[in-house]
Symmetry: C2
Subunit: 467 residues, 2 copies
């Protein structure tokens, strides 16, 4: 039997369930999802997290393990020795006829995950135990595989992975409110003229948690051409919504010698790769989501994988929205940011598929985006997808030193405070572009899970940093 396990003495449930033929005696370890007792036989469903399905363990009255099996409850941790045999039951090819049970850890009836459905809200309160449920087993297996897919996509294309800093002294990244990082005595911080002496803090200046690795990513793109980041980012915003977390992971590629069209092409390739990867490598888990969370999920993903993405300018998007019969809560007007309702209407009703909206008004986008020749728009792009709206945001960056300095001043950022950033425009400047994808946003898209708290192992949100 082929096994990808790294240990010779142990087999994973997934390996056994996919066996072509029985290897005879096996030893397998895991946790009991259910225990069912009939006359003269106990059925234990053993799960080890390697896949959605549990392995049925049959303990018959004649077995030396029978007495032990009678004492076990849901949640117990056991090792099972026995023979892998064809299962007469439905829904599984194999089961184990147990001859020996090793009990590592019992679980009384106080174990919170007894066999019944629990609300996602309740399961959030036991985030340390919820990976032992079907739904969260699936979510975090998918999270792991998709994280690997991110690296595979970029590494196969020669991109250099950059760990951009988490602690930063920049306060002008502009993407959101920042957490402060400090070691000053909070009760009695050092002061000069009554004000806190930040130069006495750990790093010699006021520091916070990064909101984006883009600026540092740009520095590396001007040496390695194609780079990407994949790391945690933070927002200190007091918004308790189902889509916002205070700590989340972001993927930010940055590409030298790329314009906005190249950027859209990369985003499309990347997005399609990830969706295809999930369909091919996480099929069992996606089928679970399709069955219990969102019955249109797999159909939607398959359609996206097969469809060429469309593109239209912001200006055209505004016109199309204004021409539509739809009544929007927020009126549409050139110069205003698109609201979620507008984005959804564009991608769901107007094009019925993924859509790049490009070339937004300069005033509503970040200072580093490249000014277009029309003098009033910038080379920005957002990717909108049905059911979610905006999922990727990016731009070509302003590579012309004078234009960039001018824009920084307009955004109240003193150019001297970012001399290192400007240096890349001073010596060997190059056209470049990049985008950001919120990893959790993508996981919600690919699993159908509707709350960001349910795709992060231990979510951090206002009022909550437990576990």
């Amino acid at each position: 039997m082929q096994t990808t396990d790294w240990r010779q003495d142990r087999l994973r449930v997934k390996t056994l369930l996919q066996a072509e033929e029985s290897p005879g005696e096996v030893f397998v370890q895991g946790w009991l999802r259910t225990v069912r007792r009939s006359k003269g036989v106990n059925f234990l469903a053993l799960n080890d997290g390697s896949c959605m399905d549990s392995l049925q363990i049959v303990v018959e009255e004649g077995s030396p393990a029978f007495t032990t099996a009678a004492t076990l409850g849901t949640g117990a941790c056991v090792g099972v020795r026995g023979t892998l045999v064809a299962s007469p039951g439905e829904g599984q090819n194999w089961e184990v006829l147990a001859t020996q049970l090793v009990v590592y850890g019992e679980a009384s009836e106080s174990f919170p995950l007894q066999k019944k459905r629990h609300s996602f809200e309740y399961l959030r309160s036991i985030a340390h135990l919820r990976p032992r449920t079907n739904a969260f087993g699936a979510v975090f297996r998918v999270r792991s595989r998709i994280a690997h897919a991110v690296h595979s996509f970029f590494q196969e294309r020669g991109f250099v992975y950059v760990h951009t800093p988490i602690i930063t002294a920049n306060d002008c990244e502009g993407a959101g409110e920042m957490f402060r990082v400090t070691t000053l005595d909070p009760e009695n911080p050092p002061r000069v003229d009554g004000r806190i002496a930040w130069h006495e803090d750990f790093f010699g200046s006021k520091t916070g948690l990064t909101v984006s690795g883009q600026l540092q990513g740009e520095l590396f793109a001007t040496a390695f051409t194609d780079i990407y980041t994949f790391g945690p980012t933070f927002r200190a915003e007091n918004s308790n919504t189902s889509r916002h977390a205070s700590e989340f992971w972001m993927i930010e590629p940055e590409v030298a010698f790329a314009d906005l069209a190249d950027n859209c092409r990369l985003a499309e390739d990347f997005f399609r790769f990830m969706v295809t990867y999930a369909l091919e490598n996480c099929r069992d888990d996606l089928e679970f989501f399709n069955k219990f969370i969102d019955s249109s999920l797999i159909g939607r993903l398959e359609k996206v994988a097969a469809t060429a993405f469309q593109s239209m300018s912001y200006t055209e998007a505004v016109e199309r929205l204004q021409m539509s019969d739809q009544k929007f809560e927020f009126p549409v007007e050139w110069g205003c940011d698109l609201q979620s309702e507008h984005e959804r209407y564009l991608t769901e009703k107007i094009v019925d598929g993924p859509l790049f909206v490009t070339d937004y008004p300069e005033g509503i986008k970040a200072f580093y985006m490249r000014r277009n020749d029309d003098g009033r728009t910038v080379a920005a792009m957002d990717l909108l997808v049905p059911k979610v709206g905006e999922i990727i945001g990016g731009s070509q960056r302003e590579e012309r030193l004078e234009v960039l300095e001018h824009k920084m001043r307009a955004f109240d950022i003193h150019p001297d405070s970012m001399d290192w950033y400007l240096d890349t425009r001073r010596w060997g400047s190059c056209p470049h572009a990049g985008f950001g994808l919120g990893f959790e946003r993508f996981l919600m898209y690919i699993t159908g899970m509707e709350n960001v708290r349910d795709v992060i192992p231990f979510p951090r949100t206002p009022g909550n940093a437990r576990f």
Copy 2:
């Protein structure tokens, strides 16, 4: 010609240098490392970060690009159109006879990286430009490839990748001093009875930056069996050494149903995989380090890749050290932690290769390590390697609820403050083990670079959070 590039309109320098035959006309973009002018011809060394070597661009007097070439200095960013031809020069198979030069960004003589050697210390002060040097190009290419190797190793073996939280309310992880994360008004924080009201802080409690993902990793191991983390960790220690950074990345696998021997076997497999991966996939860059940084590097790595690791108990290690003729600065005595000089002597002189030291005295190790039956040691392990000393630290974890609670109290940790951690011992507890590898420590080992600041893109150390 085979190309792994994701863009059809552009070729990478690495692709061209490895070409089997000339594709004829090519277009390539990058930065000029050097410019050499002879009578009637300019030689430009073009580097795009895809590999160590630059591509020689030949611009002859008859070429339309000749006038442009005459204006270019080191650091300029250009696109080159021309014909890939066999190079008559030594050390390269191919060069480009240029017919057109596109100048994206000039670089005056003020560009700091003129052709001369710079000290690593100086280059740290221009960390935003140093990736454009040979040494740091090599370091960060290796960093990227090795990060991918980490994921490949664990994913191929069925481990689930877990993003453990960065912001944490635990203050008992025990691995070091923590940075505080807060949004309270530092000038005038809310107070109750004169003391700061931490419950009014963003997360409703006092929070800091994680020093380890292990505890949360353990929670996931009790659901998925084999898991790993790979993320940033932090130490707020005011130690200005060449080996300590305030922000660094850690790899922490955690494995259910594993004892100390399994843990050592995994660490050995992992370490050898990583070294072999580097030798096979980063050869050019390693040869650079071998030539300019540490001439014993590749020999040492090849030896480690081919050697079975040895193992001895702490007790035996102490005896061997005491029996040796070596004079140590710190005397060796059972019960004391091993100093760097002892570790180096063990791995370099006594076994001359990688060495696991196991079963340390309980009093010098963390609370979560499993108590051995002798009642005075714990199932800990450190991996020592020549030239570095300790590079991996791990243990089997205490899975017995009563023993763990007892140990927590002995460490002044109130068990109630970690109820969620104890829950894994309460329901379905299992033997498990894991270890931590500091990613930067490993990069120093594999590159020969001697300062941690030189293997981190933008290092954070006391007094320094620039860029």
